[in-house]
């Protein structure tokens, strides 16, 4: 048994942490408030370092690393609140790798690898869960409105969920093509910009079928779990650092158990989430039968950890934590963006229990 990332993935993680420590983090995120959410210099470096190519097979101009590479990149981008569309691109890449035909892969993956194509998943539609889609496809044309879609303004390719003849599936939509309109959508997250995608009979190619869509949801959930873990860890670190330094009633606030036990609970929730996320990363890499169960658990556990860390980080900072100038808000806000990014906690908890029921039914 070997329950840890490979050395390759760990090396990549160190490299990513180093770059993002230098060039991202909350202070940099602040500069992107009300911008378009993309730090173009940083994104160029990310592409030059080959991170968008990491997961792309060599045949399509990539490096062909395992899914673990995407997991560590998502975690580090999450930790640093990096204003680059890396999370979206990694999730979209996963869809093309898992579901794309050879032609679709040959058409899109080289561009993703060399950075000329930013691809984003677009499943959200207001109050619908990921299982549903109001957008619909007929005769190779797609119509409907997708919002909020993270990183949409920077994207050339969208991977859109829509109702087709067999149910909800994914479709490739070239955003540079006709009958596509993109507009910004204001959200609680002021750094990661979201958009609304209106499609009025735009050409759309199916990407896998409905079961492929659900398989992709699981894979995207694993990546999202690592991103959430990274963001949550940064929020915990910020809270712990402040608890070691702020004095009240003649002592460091970290001495008070009301504060210190909150920090311990952050750690507990994070470690549980990390264990599930690692398990899910393994299941994704191994195409294991447990993928749905592991991915669902990773998503729920990581969202729970993130919400707790982000919310209590503000609390531990007291009044200063509630100011515009404090960095607490970035974690607090990103928490909501990640919770909304792929279906709610409720949806995934239900999916987890359903997958356990199915497994038990098979075993019985």
């Amino acid at each position: 048994m070997d329950f840890d990332f490979s050395d390759d993935a760990k090396t990549l993680r160190e490299q990513a942490r180093k770059l993002f420590d230098e060039r991202a983090g909350p202070a940099v995120a602040r500069k992107h408030i009300d911008g378009d959410g993309i730090d173009r210099d940083l994104w160029r470096t990310v592409v030059e370092l080959g991170w968008t190519a990491a997961r792309v097979p060599e045949a399509h101009g990539g490096i062909g690393l395992s899914a673990e590479a995407s997991c560590v990149l998502a975690e580090e981008a999450g930790r640093a609140l990096a204003a680059v569309p890396l999370g979206s691109v990694l999730a979209a890449t996963e869809a093309l790798i898992a579901l794309g035909s050879p032609e679709q892969q040959a058409r899109w993956l080289p561009g993703i690898a060399d950075g000329s194509v930013v691809a984003v998943p677009a499943w959200a539609e207001g109050g619908l869960s990921p299982a549903k889609a109001g957008a619909s496809v007929s005769g190779g044309r797609i119509s409907g409105t997708k919002a909020p879609v993270p990183d949409l303004a920077a994207a050339q390719l969208a991977i859109v969920s829509a109702s087709g003849p067999d149910g909800v599936g994914l479709y490739l939509v070239d955003l540079t093509g006709p009958d596509v309109a993109v507009e910004p959508v204001e959200t609680l997250d002021l750094v990661r910009r979201h958009g609304g995608l209106t499609l009025t009979g735009a050409p759309a190619e199916p990407l896998g079928g409905p079961s492929g869509y659900h398989d992709w949801l699981d894979r995207a959930a694993v990546l999202g779990a690592f991103e959430a873990l990274g963001t949550a860890t940064a929020a915990m670190d910020m809270a712990v650092a402040y608890a070691k330094e702020r004095v009240a009633f003649g002592q460091k606030i970290g001495r008070y158990q009301g504060v210190k036990h909150k920090c311990a609970d952050m750690f507990i929730k994070l470690e549980l989430a990390r264990a599930h996320a690692l398990h899910a990363a393994w299941a994704m890499g191994a195409d294991a039968a447990e993928l749905r169960q592991a991915a669902s658990a990773a998503r729920v556990a990581s969202l729970d950890a993130l919400a707790f860390c982000a919310e209590e980080n503000v609390q531990i900072h007291g009044g200063i934590g509630y100011t515009w100038d404090s960095d607490c808000q970035f974690y607090y806000r990103r928490n909501r963006a990640l919770a909304a990014a792929l279906g709610s906690r409720t949806f995934w908890a239900d999916r987890l229990v359903r997958s356990l029921e199915q497994r038990n039914a098979v075993a019985a």
């Binding site: 070997d2 920090c263 750690f267 556990a301 409720t346 229990v353 356990l356 029921e357």
Partner: protein, 410 residues
């Protein structure tokens, strides 16, 4: 990442499985009635002896200590296989999990030669005599005294005082005991640890009835109990350091879920069988959310333990993740129990002729309250995580540096 057994591990698992199938047949199902005390002791010893003869005891201990010199992975594999059976293993957990590792870390060669082998073979049962009426979490505050009988350098010690909550003291042959040998120095500095004969003169163990109704723990009185200096563990005044060895081993030993405690899967089955006004309980949204939470905690701890093991098997030191185990396990047991009882409506309260699965949840709900206290309370474990892992400042401990007798008087 790879979750499959290595070829070596797989072979070990297959051997363990065969051995258990051949020797554990009578334990394939739980006993119809709880064993009497004598029957429990007899069966526990026999099971330990059988395992010992087959080479399944002291799996990770060095060969020089009579162990097998194998990896923690082997121990886990054997325990996984053993836990498919209902063999009685509890009686030796404290002795072999905590006491004997302390003995072989701090005892003299003669002491090791005398005590380690019989414990491993199931011939002698041990208990841990730490907590006292006035000192549990604050273990360094114990008051049981040990005084030299004369000025001779190897004079015997005379122990007077009281221990409490001592699991299995009434069934034990020996115990490790923390005593105060110097009350004039600060509390952590005046402690010394010994091995005591539980059958010796002046030792009296009185079983206490637990909240759950069972009687596994005791109060133990020591009146003029004579202990040879050769039975001291570690130097005079080093008792705190020695006790920490025991407590470190305790965190490993009591970290996981008690074997056969109900888990999320049992909760799911139970919730499926229960009809509510609006269909089976498992179909209710809030029930599904809580089942998901139980799975995340239950499986999360198992996965966390695998992370630590994986590090160990690669010769690395496991990270601090292991420290979260007991806090999560105990509280989750309590929450799952409460949910199962709630779902049963008023029947959840009734123990007479309870459905066997409901009875298990009733039992684990009662036991969980003790588990949240035993081996470090939830609060103490959170302190440990916050202080040792996250580096937050320690609680104010106003008595820490004062001489013990002055601090107690204050």
């Amino acid at each position: 990442m790879d979750f499959t057994d290595s070829p070596d591990d797989a072979a070990y698992r297959a051997r363990a499985r065969d051995w258990l199938a051949a020797n554990g047949a009578e334990y394939r199902t739980p006993p119809a009635e709880p064993y009497s005390r004598d029957e429990l002791v007899r069966r526990s010893r026999a099971w330990q002896k059988a395992k010992h003869q087959a080479g399944y005891t002291g799996i990770t201990w060095p060969k020089s200590m009579g162990g097998q010199g194998l990896s923690p992975m082997h121990a886990i594999i054997f325990n996984q296989e053993q836990s498919r059976y209902f063999a009685p293993t509890g009686l030796f957990e404290i002795g072999l999990g905590m006491c004997i590792p302390t003995v072989f870390t701090h005892g003299s060669p003669e002491i090791i030669a005398r005590y380690v082998a019989p414990a491993l073979a199931g011939d002698e049962v041990w208990c841990q005599l730490f907590s006292e009426p006035a000192a549990g979490s604050d273990l360094a505050g114990i008051r049981t005294r040990a005084v030299r009988d004369s000025d001779a350098p190897d004079a015997d010690w005379i122990i007077d005082g009281q221990k409490v909550w001592t699991t299995n003291a009434h069934l034990s042959d020996y115990g490790i005991i923390v005593t105060r040998t110097d009350p004039s120095v600060p509390k952590h500095k005046g402690l010394t640890m010994f091995i005591v004969d539980m059958h010796g003169d002046g030792v009296e163990a009185r079983p206490l009835k637990q909240m759950s109704g069972g009687s596994d723990f005791n109060e133990v009185f020591f009146t003029g109990v004579r202990v040879k200096d050769s039975h001291r563990l570690g130097a005079v005044g080093d008792g705190w350091k020695v006790a920490l060895t025991t407590l470190m081993n305790e965190r490993l030993a009591v970290g996981g879920k008690p074997s056969h405690a109900p888990d999320y899967a049992m909760l799911m089955d139970f919730a499926r069988r229960i009809e509510t006004d609006t269909g089976p309980a498992i179909e209710q949204r809030d029930v599904r959310q809580r089942v998901a939470a139980a799975y995340i905690a239950d499986e999360g701890i198992k996965l966390t333990q695998m992370r630590a093991l994986s590090a160990l098997s690669k010769g690395q030191v496991p990270g601090p993740e292991q420290s979260i185990s007991k806090v999560v396990v105990a509280k989750t047991m309590q929450e799952m129990g409460a949910l199962a009882l709630d779902l049963s409506e008023a029947a959840g309260l009734v123990t007479a002729d309870a459905d066997p699965v409901l009875a298990k949840f009733q039992g684990s709900y009662m036991a969980a309250a003790g588990l949240r206290i035993a081996g470090g309370t939830d609060e103490i474990l959170r302190n440990i995580i916050a202080e040792r892992v996250l580096g937050l400042p320690g609680d104010l401990r106003p008595d820490k540096d004062a001489p013990f007798n002055a601090a107690v008087a204050a």
